[in-house]
């Protein structure tokens, strides 16, 4: 197979990622124990008649998808694949509360229609008049990884241009509830050495145009993705990592930058904390959830971070755990974890 090139990104996150020039210069802090995404002025990306009806996740998804397509200068694709843990949660919550509060009466369908998990992918397909493959993955911390794995298979099956993205939104009530369940805390400093429990719940939408050829806008190449479900120990993860890298004739010492999914929760981060000393022996290491917070598809923000690092050939100080100032950033590896259950490896290179 020819390589898979990342040729466009669109990112709506708690950081100023809407600004194409922004490169992790300074990070916006969390709102105490959670993050809100900084949303763009949607008028630039979505027709007003559509915008009026769309829920926030749909707006964030359609806009980020549009930004990625524009950056890659692509107008039609061979597949649209999205990942989302909770889907259009705001609409689900709205329909649910209307139903409960009115004892199943006087309901209107709009929020029910939009609550369907594949709404973002469907809306993008509808706007683009794209009749091609359209999938939505909804598996927790594997939602975006599953989308990437699918995309890599589709390229092997001969597809040429694919739009993939991860979308998550939260609501004020949901944040309150997660806090009530003792799952949140203010970010520990540094995030990779937490000794206490709690994440910073967050949201965002990150899209990518993948193509089978290099263009002027190419950022990096996506080589491979693997998921690990409930690994028991750091030894398990390390063993799987060796095999994963070996299949690309690589070992850990050849990884220039490792992007690690420390969430700030001591239990969930346990395995990553144990892996860190080994990895930073030979590789530079960065965090990313201190920038984007934690959500099911934070790995899409990790892919954005890794691609930008490869493109700029700079390790941002705001993310750096270990900076070896490599002369060339060639191989970048993302190791993510979600709730200490869903682990993944994503391998990228410069092109």
């Amino acid at each position: 197979m020819s390589k898979v090139y990342i040729n466009g990104t669109g990112c709506i996150s708690p950081q100023n990622t809407i600004d194409k020039q922004w490169f992790f210069e300074s990070l916006a802090p969390a709102q105490e124990d959670y993050f809100n995404a900084i949303e763009p002025s949607y008028k630039e990306f979505i027709a007003p008649n559509l915008l009026r009806r769309m829920g926030r996740a749909i707006k964030m998804g359609v806009a980020a998808g549009n930004i990625a397509l524009q950056e890659a200068n692509v107008t039609q694709v061979d597949a649209i694949i999205t990942g989302t843990g909770l889907g259009c949660f705001e609409d689900s919550e709205r329909f649910l509360l209307a139903l409960v509060n009115n004892d199943e009466q006087f309901l209107t369908p709009t929020s029910f229609i939009q609550s369907t998990h594949n709404t973002v992918g469907a809306q993008i397909g509808l706007i683009m008049k794209c009749h091609a493959y359209n999938y939505t993955y909804v598996h927790r911390g594997f939602s975006f990884e599953s989308a990437m794995i699918d995309a890599l298979m589709l390229f092997k099956e001969g597809k040429q241009k694919i739009l993939i993205g991860g979308i998550e939104e939260h609501t004020p009530t949901y944040v309150q509830l997660i806090r009530k369940a003792n799952k949140l805390q203010a970010p520990p400093h540094p995030i990779w050495a937490s000794t206490s429990k709690g994440i910073q719940l967050s949201e965002g939408s990150t899209f990518f145009v993948l193509e089978n050829q290099r263009t002027n806008s190419t950022l990096a190449c996506l080589l491979d993705v693997q998921t690990l479900y409930k690994p028991k120990t750091s030894t398990d993860v390390l063993e799987k990592l060796h095999l994963f890298l070996k299949s690309h004739r690589l070992d850990i010492s050849q990884i220039d930058v490792c992007v690690m999914g420390f969430s700030g929760d001591v239990d969930f981060d346990k395995i990553l904390q144990e892996l860190l000393p080994t990895i930073k022996q030979s590789s530079s290491v960065v965090a990313f959830k201190n920038a984007c917070g934690e959500y099911h598809t934070a790995s899409a923000f990790a892919l954005y971070t890794a691609s930008k690092i490869i493109k700029h050939q700079i390790i941002p100080d705001t993310l750096a755990i270990e900076n070896k100032k490599p002369t060339e950033i060639k191989y970048t590896l993302i190791i993510n974890q979600y709730l200490g259950i869903n682990y993944s490896f994503t391998l990228l290179s410069n092109c």
């Binding site: 889907g87 649910l96 199943e104 594949n118 509808l126 009749h131 092997k156």
Partner: protein
Amino acid sequence: MISAIGNNVQECFQSLAQSKTGIGKINHLSTRHKDDFVAGEVKLSNEQLAQLVGDANPALNRNSYLAMLAAKEAVVHSGIKPNDGKRTGVISSTTVAGMGKTELYYKNLLEDAEHLYVLDTHDCGDSTERIADYLGNVDYVTTISTACSSAANAIMLGSRMIKHGLLDRAIVGGVDALSKFTFNGFNTLMILDKEWCKPFDENRKGLNLGEGAAFLVIEGEQALKERGGKALAEVVGYSNTNDAHHQTASSPDGYGATLAIQQALEMSGLTPAEIDYINMHGTGTPNNDASESMATKTVFGNNVPKFSSTKAFTGHTLAAAASIEAVISVLSIQNDMIFPNLNFSTPITDTQLVPETELVKTPVNTVLSNSFGFGGNCSSLIFKKVKA
């Protein structure tokens, strides 16, 4: 498979062969509309399901029970050994996920510490991970949600991952339990028939919701050969396309459906004339059945194969529909039977397509199964008899 027509494949087969619908009065779902509508409920209470699963964990919900039972049945039936070192995937699908329980507690959850666990069981991944943990030794898990075509896409993904050498076998399917959320959602769309649905009938009024789960074990040829297993049928064609017409309605000409059927046929290497039976999506809504009929006419012209929708047996089970119908397709191939399209009397004026209305015993070597969903999602699968 567990559905309104039986708690396992054998029971479901008996109901199909005896033209016995599972759609009737609502007993388990607590809704103010329970006396106004019929639905295809699984005939077991949550307590009975918990007992069958053998797990009293209160965090388990109806969706998980159904998924675990159906997946376990598929694995036991297949004869695969969980510990044989083969790479196994669980690829499931759902639309409602844990909503059936979330809707009971969400409103007062801030003051209700006891039920805060619904935050962890609300999402679509929950039932899939429950299956994976119930079965053990699973290397890959993922969940798809593309509305009413979801399980078809799970079957397709499993097949592709095996072809790509990423897995040796996959347990694929879907689940959806009835909830007030989906029930009221479909009711606001005004596409529910209060009486038995009448797929492909000129006077059809809408769909009946159902619930259930079905899973299939898909194995690569190599893995199957190594253990000396015998396949029930072969997945020879599949395709996923998008109608890109409307968020909830299918296009009048069924463009997306036409593409899906054509591409699946092309992949299978079969000609339209070689399809013995079509298990239609056939929900019974005016829009779906008209659109699907048009697509069928476009692909098959005047030689439309024998067809039926089995949703008048099971109700529309949403994310589970395509896997329930995949099992029905396999049963059709195994038993050389075409199961009837119940409640049909008058063909749709424009297309004049007439489904099979009685059980037909005839050689069935190939089955096309269609599934379409909100968001324009169109999926077609083709199953073929394995040569002896």
